[in-house]
Symmetry: C2
Subunit: 112 residues, 2 copies
């Protein structure tokens, strides 16, 4: 079981920023930017590669939820970056799909 599943199950705490019936958003405990929130689906998908065509609406919902997360974290106007890492080369660390929402400063390059 991943650490994100444990957060979904309430077994370990998280600073929740937003939640609804399909997704949970909480602050990253190792932030890479002043604002760094993770949006995860309640459905246990490993990454984008594991999604089905029927998950298109769920994935789109995750993207749209980023706006409410950005608003609540105060970076909607200043701008924010969305990132999804899929697999080894991307540096994915937890194998439950997660969308990074980052802002609060001028961000640098895309690939590190």
């Amino acid at each position: 079981m991943t650490i994100f599943q444990k957060i979904l199950d309430g077994e370990i705490p998280a600073h929740v920023v937003y939640e609804d019936e399909r997704v949970l958003a909480f602050r990253d405990i190792h932030p890479a930017a002043p604002v760094h929130v993770l949006i995860i689906p309640r459905k246990p998908l490993i990454d984008v590669r594991a999604a089905e065509e029927e998950d298109a609406l769920l994935l789109g919902h995750m993207i749209l939820v980023s706006r409410e997360v950005a608003r609540r974290e105060g970076v909607l106007e200043s701008g924010y970056r969305l990132v999804i890492n899929n697999g080894t080369d991307a540096g994915q660390e937890v194998f439950h799909l997660h969308l990074h929402v980052m802002g609060g400063a001028r961000l640098g390059g895309l690939a590190g």
Copy 2:
């Protein structure tokens, strides 16, 4: 008019990797990784903040199309990063929504 709209209109060339009735995918002319493709909607949205709720399925489709792009570019198995920059702090450079698909090497940090 943005450079991406000109690509959509066929006014300037691009190395197209994938296209359908809703999106166009082409190689970034200034790649930040060995594989670097941009997926854009034909609908002229500035960024995620400009999307409507009805665009959820389109946004999800863009995410799912990344798999076919990654397959065609040979990085589906090795993994890939998806990035959407929204606004100034994120470093957005072209004001037509675009999803970066990057892979082909171990990528570094998320915020540059």
